[in-house]
Symmetry: D2
């Protein structure tokens, strides 16, 4: 029976800090991340300190490692924390030490003009302003992480879910599902999802949960396409076998799809997603682009096709996390198969090496401090 | 592999009319429906004549039988046609004789102010204006039925679906799914569905397809609750066992549900649906009410609870039918278990007797001319 | 030229408290409100203390006075504060002492599940949970008021607007405009607004700003109907002259209106609003109801008319206040004519007497501590 | 008093055709349009023949003239008809000969899958499929024009509006207002409109009617900016005076706008519109683009800014036309100042010459057959 509440929660004191320092993976310089001993952070009035039990590495972290996305030298990396509350700020109420919690990769304040206007990922009115962990403040590839605006961001884990079951909630699941939601998929829609990495796979699962009657998954790796089928794809297109645009138009008898989700971040997949849209369709874009992004005017009907293009940054906040965890709890999706490897925090540099090079069929790695 | 198109279709000439008359079930007077021989209707320029292969009886038809919903004496009853095209009006293009088709219970014109404004079920700006078949014009419990505004309303059946598989599309599935859609269910919502007759069961299935993470089905019959579980309900509440409102508030730890769907049409289920809503929630109403319908001010927060109440008449038109059939084709739902009994057209009066009295565990009956 | 920003703001130290007590109007017992000397409240970490420069009396306050809406004896009444910041909690940043500010009648926290889900007026998941001032905590008919969740609720007043110009923002304007917004008025809609008290007048102004092409205002007082015309009504219907439903159906040639806004809170206006709706139309309800609220089944098409009924509690939060103030700043609406009388705080009991009895053509009164 | 209905209408027989041929402006070859004598078209069952009383030239027609937008040689150009009904097809009911009517530039059928799905401008599932007049069938720069799907497309003109008052409805007003509507402008939004040609001016007026509290109009011609102010712009930016992006960011204190409307069709205005958007904002695009359209990744936040980009083709159909005409009738906007010149049909080639070269401060020209 699915739990309908997150109460009561196990409380376990064993995770309170016993030292003043902790291990943390920091960005040293382009190409180098390294484990360092850092002070356990001091807890401000609106913060919470979380003891990390499991976290993971994101594609964005690899961009940080390579210096492609700039962060301050010495910053602790990581934005997908699962753990327990180790300390609470003086102004934070409604939580208990020892509660099992997650926080989203995006930690909105809930109180600025953007948040109050419903644009929480762009907190503070700055592009990507809600992305703080492992970006503008220390992240969670560490023994402890400070969660800002804790009242808005600590989400208690239902007792019947393990830490592993909710590991994808903070970022991958929230982002991928967000792609389906932003696409406003309706019952009976035909949907194409370009790229079946972790986010694309979650977009596929999200499209399934949103009522799409036909889901076409595109990737270049058969093993990812096989996973996509287990998560809801009806048809798979291996882009190595030829132009996926032509194949999708053939599969839809020239009609095109109602919604195309881009989950890679290349100009080619973006343009392809636009090319398979029916007039009036929606391109829901999740990728982080580099290079030159062009709108091909033929596919774009010179601007007269009633097209929608929507981009989404991972939705955060504790209500979002609650909804995602309840979706797992209700048996609607099981994302554990995405975690293909596991490493202790001590070996996180090796984990990066594996993940950055996409070796051994890796999808996501669990990191355990 | 799910078909992504409805083309090509089997064409079979054997259903062209060979006589000038047909059998049809007509409303004679309150309490009496009877099979009569009537002329096969003449086809106007925008009409199509459909040879009915299978149809069904709706709860509304029972209201007509009892004289509770008034129709003209002599009108042919029925609004859920599955069949083949037997004749096409001179101004109707894009179809072929012999194609297997359905038409929705609601047959919008697509060209009046209401239809062009997106309110197609209220075609012509009249309440329920889109409901013509078996209401304001002859219906389909007959060997042949005239489909008005054929260009907008004939929906071709995919080759890989049987007539039985699509029998619920014209009304029950469209209405029930409409209840989920009008409720604007989001991923992670908790949803309650009051009553698990055919429409409530389809609402349950529709809620599942819309991303609800927890679905609570309410009914007074265990066998209907069992069917609801097979269609997506997570939790069932037998209202014979005590107040379902209290039970649902208990199941949700006092939070209430995000969306409550009413699928019976009694003041009690309507009020109960309102009572289990969280502040800001949506009551999606499908029932046809009689008696006195009241908004209890405590549950309604005296009008300050940011509640939404939405009513829906069955959406029709060929695009709606296409989406519903593709949903079945994609394996998202199988509604054949709802058809518990089958009768030839000659025995339709007996079928009414069974259905009107809800004997033998009947859910829906198939009628085969 | 309309200001596009709220920066910089005048800072004026003269309003810092010089005493430890203040005058405040408290609810004593049903039928009695009285001015008392109370301690100036202590400021918690997330609070702000506001020196009130001008406030007003709401119809809801009259219900409190009469004991029809229960509050704790001794509570300070009032929820429409305009003033300056006199003190800031230790965890509140981004504001300066002396800044001119308003706070909404509804003060959402921005950080609970409801707020993060976009249902901010129902903060905490409780019906009307966001309404704190003058309801569950001391209000603003006083020299000072404590604003909870100050980060989310202090809205700075643009320099070129006077206190009087923004006095309607905290409640009346936000509520009335909310009625138009919840009705999802589109360009070209015909809208009826039932009752032209302060909220109904703001709903009329909001409908005008939302693109309605024809606005029909209903009231029983010609002087209110005259004000409604100055705020955007095209046609007025004095309900004293006969059934306003019949009149509106006549004015619309039997079509009915797209959106009907109820702004009084009586079963009669609610039912009338439903009766003038076209099929598929929206009833946007703002009233606080007492008595027995019924949905007349003929007007409700027995539940099959694709009707929407939406209720709204006043939207709050600083972003809402910013938008409303900018609307005034841009010259889109001027609500000063609604303030017909002015009293010093010392005479607030007399102001209640005038307002509660609707004497002297009163619409709203300004109260100046 | 604004009329709330379009009934009754003047009927005048004097416009019935008395000849078998008519004058029509046809596209001869790139660079050449010429007046020819053509047969008055035969009326099919779902058509109506309209005697054109006034029409106009669109920027798109100039693209046709130049051969930049290909149409068949011999096609009659023009898609903005105002006139009277001269003949009705046998299957068209609800209209009378001699009624004053307009038809939209886009003439959806209302009955195909796209139309029934709410994507009427893309009728038939083809990009721009709803644009038939002067594109795929003969247009209205002629004495007579055949209106296809007449039931869905003939919109009767209210008696108290002149032909001149509704001349902008078929295209310019519908398109410009559509830009504001697609941008989902809310009360309190800051909106920028790039280019103040006829469509941009209507977008400005539409933004005003949608509740924008600050509208910033951009153009390079002061006289167009002056017109924009009369239609609702609060601030004007002459792009000849320097980078409009920098100026708009300065005007908004670095915040950016909520909605930017592009109404020219150049990569530069498109990119500029994106650059002035706040994170989470919407770019509503109306232009017809040529050249290379790029999404600048800095302004696009590399795909992570929660941006929306929406394109709109002119909405058509008689309900749309009714709403626009009622908006004029209600005094919400007066677009007659846009018609700066008038020519008889005989001089239409000269009118093209003037309009194509933007001489004499031309905005729109009236053409009178």
């Amino acid at each position: 029976m699915p739990a309908l509440t997150n109460e009561p929660h196990r409380v376990d004191d064993s995770f309170l800090p016993t030292s003043k320092t902790m291990k943390a993976l920091v960005f040293a310089k382009p190409g180098v991340v390294e484990l360092r001993e850092k002070p356990i952070p001091a807890v401000g009035p609106n913060d919470a300190l979380m003891r990390v039990t499991v976290t993971t590495i994101c594609g964005t972290d690899v961009h940080i490692l390579k210096g492609e996305y700039p962060v301050a030298a010495g910053l602790t990396v990581g934005h997908e924390p699962v753990g327990v509350i180790a300390a609470l700020g003086s102004a934070v109420s409604g939580f208990k030490l020892g509660q099992r919690v997650i926080a989203g990769a995006i930690t909105p304040c809930g109180q600025c003009h953007s948040c109050l206007d419903g644009t929480m990922s762009q907190c503070g009115g700055k592009a990507m302003g809600g992305w703080r962990l492992g970006n503008t403040i220390d992240g969670c590839q560490a023994e402890y992480v400070l969660v800002p605006n804790a009242a808005a961001n600590l989400a208690t884990i239902p007792d019947d879910l393990t830490d592993e079951q909710v590991l994808m909630c903070p970022d991958i699941m929230s982002t991928g599902f967000g792609g389906a939601e932003s696409g406003r998929i309706r019952i009976g829609d035909i949907v194409a999802v370009f790229a079946q990495g972790p986010i694309g796979l979650c977009a596929t699962a999200g499209a399934r949960l949103s009522g799409a009657s036909t889901i076409i998954a595109v990737d270049m790796l058969d093993r990812r396409l096989a996973v996509s089928q287990s998560l809801g794809a009806d048809l798979v297109v291996n882009a190595s076998d030829g132009d996926p645009v032509a194949r999708i138009m053939e599969l839809t008898n020239g009609r095109g799809v109602d919604v195309a989700i881009e989950a890679l971040g290349t100009p080619w997949t973006f343009e392809s997603a636009l090319r398979v849209l029916r007039p009036g369709g929606t391109l829901s874009s999740l990728g982080v682009y580099s290079g030159k992004l062009t709108l091909p005017l033929d596919a774009f009907a010179a601007g007269l096709g009633d097209h929608h293009i929507v981009t989404s940054l991972c939705p955060g906040g504790k209500e979002r996390m609650r909804r995602l965890m309840n979706t797992i709890q209700g048996g609607r999706v099981d994302l554990r198969p995405l975690v293909t490897h596991s490493f202790p925090l001590d070996q996180i540099v090796e984990a990066y090496e594996l993940f950055a090079n996409q070796r051994d069929g890796v999808l996501k790695v669990a990191i355990r401090p």
